[in-house]
Structures are given as C-alpha cells and as structure tokens.
C-alpha cells in the first residue's frame, strides 16, 4: 500500500498540431487537498482526463493508489466532476443518480439509501417537496449543480477529481462545495482540483502544482512554496508625526541598496523588498537606531497569485485571470 494517491511519471500527450502535456510528473499524497493551477490551455483538463483514463498518454505512467489507472476497478474509487457539467435532461433525478452510482459498482438498494441522505443534506428533499422525483430539466441550474455534486460523491470515492469546480457556481453552491472539500479532507479523502482562481487554491489546498504550456513550473506544499518565494517582502508602517525630525535618517536607511532593493510607498505602509543577502533583523535594528517610530514591521508571505504571476510570467496569463474568487 503506497502513501501516494496519485503518482504521475513523465507523462506526455501530443496532439496533431501541439503538445498538450510534456514530461509531467506529479505526486499527490493520500489525504491531501491538491491544487492543479495554470492558465487556460495549460493542459489541466488534459492531465485530469489522463488521470481518469478517458484519454491515453503517449508516454509515461499513471498510478492511482499504487495501481495503474487502466486496471479494472481502480477508477471505481474515483469521483469526477468535469468542468463542462450536464445530466440526462429527461431523466428523473433519482434514476440519474442511481445510474451514476451503479456505474461505480454501488448496488441499487445501497445507492437509494445514500441518494436519500444526500438529497436531504443538500435540501433537495424536504418534507414538502422531493426534487428527486422530478426530471432533471425541471430543476433550477443551481439544483442541477447540486445533483451533479451528489453524483460525483455518491459512491464515497477515495479520490475526488474536480475540474474547475468553482466555474459557473452560484455563491451558495460555491460555499457548499468548499464545505464538502473540507469535509472530505477531514475524513481522509484525497481531493485534487484544477483552477485558475488562486484565492480558492490558497484557502483550500495543502499542496499545489503550477503548470504552464503543458509543463510543470513548480510544485510542493503551499507553505513550502510560499517560503521558497517569500521572506523577502516586508511591510513597514511608520508614524512620521512621532519621529521628531528623524525622517531624513530613516529615509537614508531605506535608500541603502545593500539592505533594501526596492521601496514602494503604499500610503498606509511601505512595501519593501530586501536586497539579496540582507538580513531583516539588521534592517529593523538600523531603523530603530535611526529613530523611526515603527507601527508595523512584518515579513509578508507572497500570495499564490503573486507567485503564479512571477513563475508563469505575464505572457502565460490570459485575460480574465485574477486572484478574485
């Protein structure tokens, strides 16, 4: 029994006119919430489809829970919510869900029990109204999204794969999805989701992988990634009125290129970038010595958004990308 839920090694996927994924390797430990980040067209969906054996890689290997994903039964432990969502419109909700569960090997009676549980949990079944008896196209879009979640999780998968799960969700369902991810994590399940919304990734993920143009740019635990890219940013708050003429001396310290490579006045505070090799403690000591009245001195970790922009580069970023979730 391996500790890796997903083990992707040197996977390549070529299409006629371009290479969608080149030499991608990913290791996702069991029980983590993993973010697959990248701009549109970076190869996220192709990677996810390869994980699910919907398309085959041209080279490399993919193992889920230590077994090849082509082995029978392996994918029955996986729940998948695609980016483009849809259900059989003319089918009764309950029957769609039972069909999806049976496809994953859940016996009919057990499926029916779980369907009731889930419908009640997501308020699709109340004492007044049972939406499970309706046809799919009689439900609102938000309700259909809930039905789709249920379909993804009905067989209680060990690994949940979500492709751009937050796109097109209303705020209520987005919250429900976040709660669900947290709940899955608490129960030791592994969740991997792709997104270009860094906010969600930053809040939810234990680890991330950033890919761009089919290649991995960086990966690792969120804290490790931040540490590797952080510790050089300082937010400095000064009370200029309380400094009694010490201003020029303080400005001289900030202008020392051996200590501070860049100072950016943000009005309420200064954003400083430490010079290479400079020690923040030395900077603090020098500022105090110069008579600065300090209201804030904080080593700031960069946001995933900043790291993303830094690593992928502005050229890899398409319109519509932002850190706002």
């Amino acid at each position: 029994m391996t500790e890796l839920a997903i083990d992707v090694r040197h996977v390549v996927k070529r299409y006629a006119d371009h290479t969608a994924v080149r030499d991608l390797s990913l290791q996702v430990p069991r029980g983590t919430v993993y973010g697959l980040l990248g701009p549109n067209g970076a190869g996220k969906t192709t990677t996810i489809r390869m994980l699910l054996d919907v398309i085959r890689p041209d080279a490399g290997s993919i193992a889920l829970f230590g077994r090849s994903n082509r082995e029978g039964g392996v994918l029955d432990r996986v729940g998948y919510l695609p980016e483009e969502r849809g259900l059989y419109k003319k089918m009764q909700v309950r029957r769609v869900l039972r069909f999806l569960a049976e496809l994953k090997g859940v016996p009919g009676a057990e499926a029916d029990r779980r369907i009731d549980e889930w419908l009640e949990r997501l308020s699709l079944k109340t004492p007044e109204k049972d939406w499970g008896e309706q046809k799919v196209d009689e439900l609102s879009r938000g309700m259909q999204q809930k039905v789709q979640f249920i379909g993804t999780l009905l067989h209680d998968p060990d690994l949940v794969i979500l492709d751009e799960p937050f796109s097109g969700l209303d705020p209520v369902n987005a919250q429900a999805l976040k709660d669900t991810v947290v709940e899955l994590h608490r129960r030791g399940r592994t969740v991997i989701f792709s997104t270009h919304l860094m906010d969600n990734a930053e809040r939810l993920c234990d680890a991330v992988c950033i890919i761009s143009r089919g290649e991995k740019v960086l990966d690792g635990g969120v804290q490790d990634v931040k540490r590797a890219h952080g510790g050089r940013q300082i937010a400095l708050g000064l009370d200029r009125l309380a400094m009694n003429g010490a201003g020029p001396a303080v400005d001289a310290v900030l202008a020392d290129r051996a200590l501070v490579s860049r100072a950016d006045d943000q009005n309420r505070f200064l954003e400083l970038e430490l010079a290479p090799g400079a020690d923040p403690q030395v900077l603090l000591h020098r500022l105090v010595g110069a008579g600065a009245a300090i209201t804030r001195f904080e080593l700031v970790q960069p946001s995933l958004h900043q790291i993303f922009l830094e690593t992928v580069g502005a050229t890899g970023v398409e319109a519509g990308m932002s850190g706002q979730g």
């Binding site: 006629a16 919907v54 849809g86 029957r95």
Partner: protein, 447 residues
C-alpha cells in the same frame, strides 16, 4: 452489477417508460392488422358501391341493349330501392348524342345521378362503351359496370346472330371468379396476392423499425454529447462498453416492440377476420353474399398461414442484423456532431441505403428474380430489408438465406468496429465536425 448491464438497463428502461413507447406498441398491431385486412376487404368488396346503379344510360344504338343493361344493374338493388338509386335510360338518335351527354353530365354535376353510360354503334359492334361518373376511379364499380355491359352486349349480339333468347341468358349469366395461387419451386402454395402483401408489410416494417431504432441510438449519442454527460460517464465506463450498451439497450426495446407488434397483429387478425366474414355474409342479396363468401375464403387462405413463425423468425433475424449494422453507423455519425441539427445532416449518408431499399421495394415486388432485385437482396446494406421481402415472394434455399445473413453479420461487425473507433474519439471532441482526413486520424488515435 456489470457496467454493460447498467448501461443496457438505463437505455432500455428509459425508453420503455415513455408514453410514446406505450402508444406505438398499442398502435402497431392495429396498423399491422389494418395493412393486412385492408386489401382483403378490398378484394371482398367486388359488389361495388350501392350507387353503382344510379346512372343515366344514354342509348344511341337504336336497340333495347340500354334497357337490358339498366335491368341488369337494377337486379342487385333491393326491391324497395328508391327511383333515385335506379338507372334511367335515354334513347337518342346518333345526331342528338352530344346534347344528351351534356344533359346527363349536368345531372352528375348536380348530384342527381352518379354517372352516365354512353352506348353507340361502336358498343354494339363490340368495340367500346363510354362511362363518365363520380365513381370512375373506383375499381370495383367500373369492374361491375364493365361486366354488365359486356354480358348484355354479348347477349344482344348472340340474339342478333339468331340464338334463341332463353338459351343465351343462362350462358352469359355465368360469373367466373379467378382464384389465384402462386407456384414456387416448392410447389403451389398460398395466393400470389397474399405473398405480395406479406412481403410489403414485412419490408415496410423492417425499414421503419431499423430507421426508427437506429435513429434512437443516434439521438442518444448526441444527447450525451450535447448535455456533456458523456464526460462523466466515460470516466466510469469505457466508451466501447457505453456504445455496446446503447446499441443493445435500444435494440432490446426494438425487439420487444416487434414481438408485441407481431403477436398483437396475429391476435387481431385471428380475432377480427372471422368476425369480419360474418359481417360480410349478413348483408346484400344472395348473389353478392356468395361472392363475398368466396372472396373471404380466398382472404382466409392467404392471410393466416402466410405470416408464419418462419417469416417472423426471419424478419426478426434480419431486423437484429440490420439494426446492429445501422445503429453502429448511426452511433458513429452521432459522435461526430455537436447538435441535433448537425446530427440530422450527418445521418443522411447513413440513411441513404435504407431509403434506397424502400425505393426499390416496388422493383423487387414486380420482379423478384431480376438481376437488380437479387443484387439488392445480397448487398449487406439493403439485404436486411430486401432479403426477407424476397423470401416472402419467391422460394429461397436455406443456404442462400444463411449466406446473406452471414454477409450482413460481417458488415455489422465491421460497422461496429469502425463505429466504436469514431465514437471513442468523437465523444469528447467538440467544435467543428471532422473532415474525412480528420476521421482517419481519429481511427489511428483510437488504436
């Protein structure tokens, strides 16, 4: 549960549950029985309509032949029939014929009479008589008029030639009914007309069901693509299994419906037809009743035995093979499309050979042993419809049937293989429809 079974179950149950399935299943036997009974009813309807005697006989022969014809036409009327239903005779000189015809035509136009019968010297010479009327397109009515005119003119001519009237009448009154039986290599069996009707019914049924259920596979594939549900499904089950389940599930619905249709149709024919005989015998004058009974005998001898278990088995076998062949092609066509409109276009090349089969039915019916008819019976894309038709028309050897069935089975296997490859790649492809070159690439990709 096996995933293939899960897919089959869904396709089957979702279709059987629909109102349209219940409706078509109920209406099918009615249609089937209707198609079978209608020609029999037509055949039994030799008496013609009740208004056939309501004609003006314009007689320019200068003899009594017009009166004889009127009397003969009135013979089959009940004694209480009103004057408006009886024939009237207008005797005119040849010179006044056009005026008399105009007057008689006006009567027909004004609905006072059904038609007019014009007798002139050409009639007496044995060449022709003319009839114009509202029922001129009714085969039975015209047949009846022609019988009467021919008989009375013959009688008149015989009398003119010196035969005594009392000896002429019994001879010319003979009404001959031609009973037809088709002879095949196996010997005599069934009526020729019966064989043709069965052939047409079976062929139309096969054409309609293969088209209907093949297109259901097409729609099912397109639905999964347009609603994007395909993406979730293929993450749980391999596309080949999904396609197989679809084809088998829809096919099972088709088979069930056909069995219900044939069973219901047979039951209806068996129940309705005897009832229908009694009805025919209960009305009309004695002579008409005898005719009807005679025709009904012929009806009974061709309808019942011809839709035999063998014919049904052959029809079902060719339905299954033809359905497999076409549904695979329809599935592939569906996988290439992104919308219902596109699918309708993509389905046209698949439908062409099917429509061709329907168009050539007439040709096969008229001359089942001709070269083209044989070719259509052997060509795998038309064989599922034409071969069972041929089997109902002429005698075929079991070897011939087996070889044709094998050919269709081979073509179906090839279609399933090709269809599965296109389906596998096409299912997750969106955007513009692929060209032939791209299709070839899909095939390689799916390898």
């Amino acid at each position: 549960m096996n995933k293939l079974l899960v897919v089959i179950k869904r396709e089957f149950l979702e279709r059987v549950r629909t109102r349209i399935f219940v409706l078509t299943t109920l209406l099918g036997p009615l249609l089937l029985a209707g198609i079978t009974i209608f020609p029999a009813w037509l055949a039994a309807r030799e008496k013609g309509s009740d208004t056939v005697a309501a004609v003006t006989v314009v007689d320019a022969t200068g003899t009594t032949v017009g009166d004889r014809i009127a009397r003969a036409l009135a013979d089959s009327l009940p004694p209480a029939a009103p004057a408006s239903a009886r024939p009237t005779v207008v005797r005119v000189a040849t010179a006044d014929l056009p005026a008399a015809e105009r007057a008689a035509t006006a009567d027909v136009v004004a609905h006072r009479r059904e038609g007019m019968l014009v007798l002139d010297t050409a009639t007496l010479a044995g060449r022709n008589a003319r009839y114009a009327g509202r029922n001129a397109t009714s085969f039975a009515d015209v047949q009846r008029l022609q019988d009467v005119v021919r008989r009375e003119v013959l009688t008149a001519r015989l009398e003119q030639a010196g035969f005594p009237a009392e000896r002429v009448a019994p001879i010319t009154a003979a009404r001959l009914h031609l009973v037809t039986t088709s002879i095949t290599d196996r010997g005599a069996g069934g009526s020729g007309v019966g064989g043709a009707i069965v052939a047409i019914v079976v062929a139309i049924l096969l054409y309609a069901t293969i088209l209907l259920f093949g297109q259901q596979v097409l729609r099912s594939v397109v639905e999964e693509k347009t609603t994007r549900v395909a993406e979730v499904i293929v993450a749980s089950v391999k596309p080949d299994i999904l396609m197989a389940g679809k084809v088998l599930g829809v096919g099972a619905v088709g088979l069930l419906q056909q069995v219900l249709w044939f069973g219901g149709g047979l039951a209806l024919v068996a129940y309705v037809l005897p009832f229908f005989h009694l009805d025919r015998q209960g009305v009309g004058a004695a002579g008409a009743a005898r005719q009807a009974a005679q025709a009904a005998d012929a009806t009974a001898s061709f309808v019942m035995p011809e839709i035999s278990i063998g014919t049904i088995a052959a029809a079902l076998l060719f339905f299954l093979l033809g359905y497999l062949l076409y549904s695979a092609l329809f599935a592939a066509a569906g996988a290439m499309c992104n919308s219902d409109q596109e699918a309708q276009q993509a389905a046209i090349p698949v439908m062409l050979p099917l429509i061709g089969s329907a168009v050539f039915m007439q040709l096969v019916l008229q001359n089942p042993e001709s070269g083209p008819a044989r070719a259509f019976a052997w060509f795998p894309l038309t064989a599922p419809i034409i071969m069972p038709m041929r089997m109902a028309l002429v005698s075929t050897t079991p070897l011939e049937v087996a070889l044709v069935a094998l050919g269709v089975a081979g073509a179906a296997a090839l279609a399933l293989w090709l269809g599965a490859r296109i389906y596998r790649v096409g299912l997750l492809m969106y955007g513009k429809r692929p060209s032939v070159v791209e299709l070839a690439r899909w095939m390689r990709q799916a390898a």
